[in-house]
Every structure is written in C-alpha cells, then in structure tokens.
Subunit: 488 residues, 2 copies
C-alpha cells in the first residue's frame, strides 16, 4: 500500500509532501510561494469554514468584508505592529500595464502616489473603518469576522503550513471595556479549542504567548498548540487581546454611558488553511491521509466487487438502498462503480485519500445479506449484516472520530514531560515533544534558549500549577512551568 | 418616511447611493475605489453564495482555489485576452518594506524579477494549472468553481456596481468536445437566469453578446441582462464559451478515446457582488431598500408597542411563541425589544432596510389575539389573527416574492419596444429601456451607434424571431432584432 511514498520514519517531511500531493489536496503553482488548493483539499476547508462560521454566529458575530489593499502609511501607525508585519509583504506600486516593443510592460505613468500593501492581516484597515462607525457606547460592541485571503512574503514555503498567500478568517471586535474585550478574546480561544478537539480530533494545549511570540500589537495572545507526529508543535489558532493599541493608533474614541471620552478596546482572532496541515500531520499514517469523519468530504465509499455485468447490476441495485439509508443519516457517501479501475486500485486510492469507512459488496455478500466494512483508522475489516447497516456505520463514524482523538491525545501525553535542568533540556529537546520547564520570564532568556536549541516557548498554559522552581537556563526563581518545543 | 433621502425622481444616482449608505450595505474605504461591505450587505451576499453554490454543486461542480497573483507574462499568451484585461490592473513589483529615515519605504533590493498582476480574472493562471492536470480524456471534464476577490483598476467607481476590488465566483471548465463545452456554457447561463428570476425576483433577458461586448478571449459570451428603474440595462451574469483559445495559449492537449492529441475545450462563467447593485435598483422605492424575501437577511421583524414594563413583559412572552413558530417554518425573525428607540423609529429603520414583513404587537392585540402585519413591498397593513400566524406569514412571504418579480417584469415589458428608424431610435433611447432594433451585424455600426447615442447592444436574444428588416443605422439587411440600451 502506498509503496512509492515515503514513510514517516524514512523521511517525515517527504511523507507530508507526498500526502499533500497524492491525496490531491494541494500543489505548488507557477507563482512562487502560492499554492493551488485542489477540490479535495478545498472540500475539507469548506467543511471547516461551515462549522467555524456556525460557531462564530452562535457567539454573536457577523461577517463583513474589508479591502485587500492597505495604504503603506497605515502600518506605521501602530509602532510594534509595523515591526512584526509590514516587512515581508507584497507591494502594489502601479495600476496599469501597456504595450511595449517587446510585449506588455508596467506603465511608468501609472505609479501610485502611495504604495498599497496586500493585506498580511487587517487590523489597520479595519480600525481605520471602525473610526467612522464608533461614536458612542451605543455603537459597541462590534463583533465582526471576515473570511479572506492574506499574503505574507515567505522565502521558504511549505504547502498549507507556510505559503505566501493563504486563506483564513480574522475576527475583529471593538468593546467599551477592558473586561469585555478580554472575555471576548478568551471566548474565541475556547471556540477554537472546541473546534480543534471536537471536529479536527486534535487535542490542544491552551495558553498565552510569551512577549517574544506575541502578535505584533497585542497585549496578550491566547493560543492553541497542537503536537505533530514528529514531536514538533504547531500553532493552530490565536486570539489576541489588543488593549487600546489600535484605537489609539487610529484615534477611535467613544462616549461612554458616563459621558466620558475613552479609547475603544479591541480583540482579533484567526485560524487559517494551516489547519489542514495540522490535520494531516496529526492523524495520517504510512498508508496516507487519515481524516476524522466530521471533516471528511467523503465519509463512506462503496466499492462493488464483480466479474460479470449482471453481478454489477444486482450490486448497484442493492447499493441504491444503502446509499439512501446512509444519506438519511446525513452521512456523505460515494458509490464508485467506475469500470476503468480494479477494486484493488480503488481500495488503495480511497485509503490514501483518508476516507474513514469503505464498504465492499460482492455477489456472495448479496446472497448472505452482508457487507465488508473496512476502517481507515485501524485498517481493520469486518463482515457486517446489511440489515441496519446505516446505524452500524453511524456509530462506527462516531467511534472513529473518538479513536483518532484518543490516539492523538495518547501520543501527545507520551511526548510531554517535565524537564528540570539545562543538560536534560538539551537532551530531551532532540527527542521532540512538549517540555514543561521553569523559565525566568525574560525575553532574553527565551531568545538564548531559542538560539541554542531552536526551541521556543509555545505556550504559558492557562492551567499552569503554581510551584516553586528555578529557570532551566538562568537558574533564577520561577513560579510555574511553561511549554517549550520546536515548532512549525 | 426616509425624508432626508433623495427620491428616484429627484436624483436617481443619489437615491441609489443613499440606500447603499443608509441601509448599511456598504461604504467607501480609505483605499480609493475599494469598498467595505458592511454586515447587512454581506449577509445578502452570503445568502446569494449559499444558493448559487448549491446550484453549482447540483450541476456537478466542485470548488477549488487558485493564486491571487498572476505572472505578467501569462497575460500576453492569449492575444485578445491581454487587450481586454491586462491594462488597468494592480501590479505588484516589490516584496519588502524597510525602515527609512522618514518612516517605512519600499526596499529597492526587493524588486521582483517578473511583476505579478493581482487577478482581474483567472483564466490564465487556471489554464496554466490545468496543463498539469490534463493528459487524457479520462481527466475530463474538469468542472471547477472558485469564490474569490478580483481587482480591476477603475477610475470612476460606484459601490457594488464598479469598484476596484470586488467579490465573485468564477467557474472554469475543461472538456473533450466542443459540443460538451457549449452545453456547459448554456447550462450555466440557465443556472444564472434561474437564480436571478427565482431568488432575486429579477426578470432577465437571455442572449449572446455582439463581438464588441464579448469577453476578451471568448468565442461566444452568453449573458443575462436586467433592466433597472432608470431604464438602463445591467449585465447580471455571463457565461463564456472559450473554444480552444486558452488551451492553445497554454498548450493544453489531451489524448482522446481515439488516441488522437487535441486541444481541450473551455468555458468560464461568473457573477459578482454587482448583483447586490442590481437587486437594489430593481426593487427599491423612495422609502428605501426593498428585498425579495428569499434573499432578505431578516425576513420578519417584530416590534412591541407598549407604555409600561408589564405590557412589554406580556408582549415578549407571546412573541416567544410566535418567533418559535416562524423559525419552525425556516423563516428568519428578529424581535426588536430594545428600549432606546421608539416604535416609529424602528418602523422607519426596518422599512428603509427592506425587511419584507413587519409585525407590531401591542396590549390590545394581546386582548384580541391579533397582530398588525405590514408588507414592505406594498406598504400596506392588515390586522391578522395570532392563531396560525406562521402559515399566514409563510404564504405572505411567497406572495411578496412573486409580487416583486411581477412588478419588475411589468416595468421591463412597459419599457421594451421595437424601433425601426434611426430618428425614432434617437428619440426613444433618451427615454431609457430596451430597444429592439435591426442591426447589420458589423462591429463598425455598433461602434457608431455607441458613439452617437451611448447605447450598446446588450444582447442578441436567444429567442430572437427571424424576420426581414433593415439596420436602423446603415439600412443594410438584417434577419432579426437585437436589444440596444444604455447600461451600467
């Protein structure tokens, strides 16, 4: 199975690339750093979008759309934001082409007075807009989300994980009080954690970021961190408490109930197509992609096994009923009766594409009233009665969803450990995983640890226990452990 | 009602701008030509997207995503395409900013070897991709749609109708035969027409474009044209039969069943946020926006009428049941019990925002078991029994949907007429509407008519009757009438 492709053991990075390519999720385009998301990969994103969108709306958010282009000067308005964002980005300088002697050229007469930046994130253009929308406390809160493409010029790209252009959602909210904004930032972290755990079947560590890893312009960045199968961490979502930084940068004040002018409080939060990378690296195996049923574009595939046309006709007749029964349960089913490929090829293909359940039906099954049911997660097979198959499959899909989560959680727990000395840290970081260690709280120490080991603080866990300890690097006193890891 | 806003009679253009602004649909941003789509406007777009997406999937299409940026050289590959598209567009020339003495500046060292164009449409980047996907007839057809933002640098912009950046969907299909591609282009025209008529309640004329108005690179452009209330035409959707032009430009060949190499046949088709402009201008009146129920974000608003808190409590209790009953019918309801605005203000606001049905309930209604039901389309009111109100409203919404269509159709028919002489044409074109006239079939004649009257051929109707006639301009023989109008 999947014999021409790399295993995790042989070459983890190649294994990932093979899955993205051969499971038809995405590919590189002719534009350096920009990917093409293929229909099968995009279908996963659509399911994610649908579910996240429902969760955002249930928590009171509305969607809107803001411009792709941001005037260059906007980035200078929030001092720390410019450092973090305005550097590696696509710059639009002209607005016209014309015919030259050797083909089309940029028209030098069509130079923009002020260059436009293709949005790497939208805080600045949105707060410039909110300034017009907010006068009084009656205009607050504003709870808006945007589904959009963003561009960050990356030199070393990796499909889904790091590309110049990617798709995401970005929530941007405005509040009258600090308390309310903080509550919003925490609420959205919970939404992301619920989505990751219940839909993606990925256990996540909830925490805050250290100043070095914080979003440029935020006072606090909440994050969910997942562990990939090579022991590296992957940041799966962030929710920022922005304080009054952007309100001050864009001069957005409101008249409070007490008739006082004050700056507005802000949050922003986002997840992106990067989640598809996390999904792949959490569950997949050496046989290809493994998808949690709740996000699988095809949950069940049915393959007929036959020699003669009459056999196919009889099987297809029976399958019609099964498809109907499964769809009545809201299960997405594909019946693959194409005659150009043999069952063995089909089995291999759907296995590689991570379809959670495969049914095979042959003439003998028709006689016996049975179906062969194969699970993608365990690669096990069972012969099951056709009668009531829809209930069997429904509960099987739930089991698979839980099993994937449990397996991922077990892996994460096995690769999470406490480390108390610098020597130990240096040994353990090579093995991968999450290292819970004491840190003296200074950016300098974090930077030194990063320089020496490539590990960063992935999160300061929200549920960190208070205990007396000493920083593994400086030996200075510390009150709780933070989580170090190498990361994507 | 809406007393500070322009009427259609006074200033049609200002009337449109007032509705877009005061019904909270969209506004201009700080980026010239780029709009902010506000939550209420975006909610309409989301409903449109949802329905169109369902129709695309039912006709066998899948979604995918292609890069925002297109290498400049790609536009030169299809000769007529470059003329039509590669001129007024946003050009990315650099990929980095840096700190200069007076703030951030474009880093001259980060100049791209080849400029990137922000997509004005995606044929070129998609056919560059399809080249990698297509080898044999087994790889065909490819039926893909993309939801995306596109940029066309416009000097004179108008919210929704003409902006530098807008949102749209673009379908791009690849086929083994001409027949199949033609059938696809026609099928998608029918999908658009059905959507316009059944969902937007806008009657549309189906036809093909003259060579002057055809999409750059197409062999045939199918279109739906709608008539606005000022008698101008608005192109509401196009579906292009591209022949083998893009396959030849990007060298996309396939091995047929007969083992012969041939170029692939193509179509592309799209509708955009422009449809929201069409929606506004077709149904709205001097009291503001009018929305067809099927696209209204809020279909029913309920306003309590009370003096005392106890009255509000009693009304709210009853409204709970009504809301539940309406939602059980899939109707979207808003109960506005905010105490900061008086009922009169609320009535005016929801009327201006085009909410199809308004219910008002006061203490006397509770006594009598009645509700006041107001229709936005006719501005009429009725007192209706609370018992079975959900059935009444359900059928009322259907009536409103039909009434809007019928009204728009009547307006269009009254403003469509045959014109047989050039003198008559010059008089009639000033009155607006669709003029059915004979044309000699030459681009030169169409251009002259446009130069002299600002009217263009909006469509060559699919159902044009064959009759002998003479071109209104040149007097040369003609076999059928085409539709002239001034347009958006």
């Amino acid at each position: 199975m999947a014999k021409n492709f790399s295993t995790r053991e042989e070459n983890y990075s190649q294994w990932y690339n093979d899955i993205v390519k051969h499971a038809q999720l995405a590919e590189n385009s002719s534009v350096r750093g920009s990917m093409v998301i293929k229909p099968y990969g995009y279908a996963i994103w659509e399911t994610m979008q649908k579910e996240l969108d429902r969760m955002f709306k249930e928590t009171g958010h509305e969607n809107a759309y803001f411009p792709l282009f941001i005037p260059k000067s906007f980035f200078s308005k929030e001092a720390s934001h410019v450092e973090g964002f305005a550097k590696e980005c696509a710059v639009v300088t002209h607005y016209r082409l014309k015919n030259g002697p050797e083909g089309i050229v940029v028209d030098p007469d069509a130079k923009l007075d002020e260059e436009l930046i293709v949005r790497p994130t939208s805080e600045t253009i949105i707060w410039d807009t909110y300034k017009r929308w907010i006068q009084s406390y009656r205009d607050l809160p504003i709870l808006i989300n945007q589904w959009a493409n963003v561009v960050r010029w990356e030199m070393r790209t990796r499909l889904f994980l790091r590309t110049a252009e990617f798709l995401w959602q970005e929530g941007h909210t405005a509040h009258a009080t600090e308390t309310e904004a903080l509550a919003e930032a925490k609420q959205m972290l919970e939404v992301y954690a619920t989505f990751a755990e219940e839909w993606m079947a990925i256990p996540v560590l909830k925490g805050t970021k250290s100043p070095n890893e914080r979003f440029a312009g935020a006072l606090e960045t909440y994050c969910i961190e997942a562990m990939m199968q090579d022991g590296k961490a992957l940041q799966a979502g962030t929710s920022h408490f922005l304080g009054q930084n952007f309100a001050k940068a864009f001069d957005v004040k409101f008249l409070s109930k007490e008739n006082k002018l004050d700056y507005v409080w802000a949050t922003s939060w986002g997840v992106s197509t990067r989640l598809i990378g996390a999904l792949i690296m959490t569950h997949s195996d050496d046989n290809g992609l493994v998808l949690p049923p709740k996000l699988a574009p095809i949950q069940v595939v049915i393959v007929p096994i036959y020699r003669k046309e009459e056999e196919l006709a009889a099987i297809s007749e029976k399958v019609k009923t099964i498809v109907k029964q499964l769809r009545s349960k809201g299960i997405s089913v594909k019946y693959d009766d194409s005659d150009t490929r043999k069952p063995g090829f089909k089995f291999a293909e759907y296995e590689y594409k991570g379809v959670p359940v495969r049914l095979a039906i042959g003439p003998r099954d028709l006689e016996n009233g049975t179906v062969e049911v194969a699970r993608r997660d365990t690669l096990t097979k069972d012969v099951v009665a056709m009668e009531g198959i829809e209930n069997h499959i429904e509960s099987l899909l739930e089991q698979i969803q839980i099993n994937l989560y449990t397996k991922a959680e077990k892996y994460r727990n096995e690769n999470s450990r406490k480390v108390d000395t610098w020597e130990e840290f240096n040994v353990e970081i090579e093995k991968g995983g999450f290292l819970y260690a004491h840190w003296d709280g200074t950016p300098e120490t974090e930077q030194s640890i990063k320089d020496e080991t490539k590990a960063t603080i992935r999160a300061i866990p929200l549920d960190a226990e208070i205990e007396d300890g000493k920083c593994i690097y400086s030996g200075k006193p510390s009150k709780f452990r933070v989580v170090f890891a190498r990361s994507y």
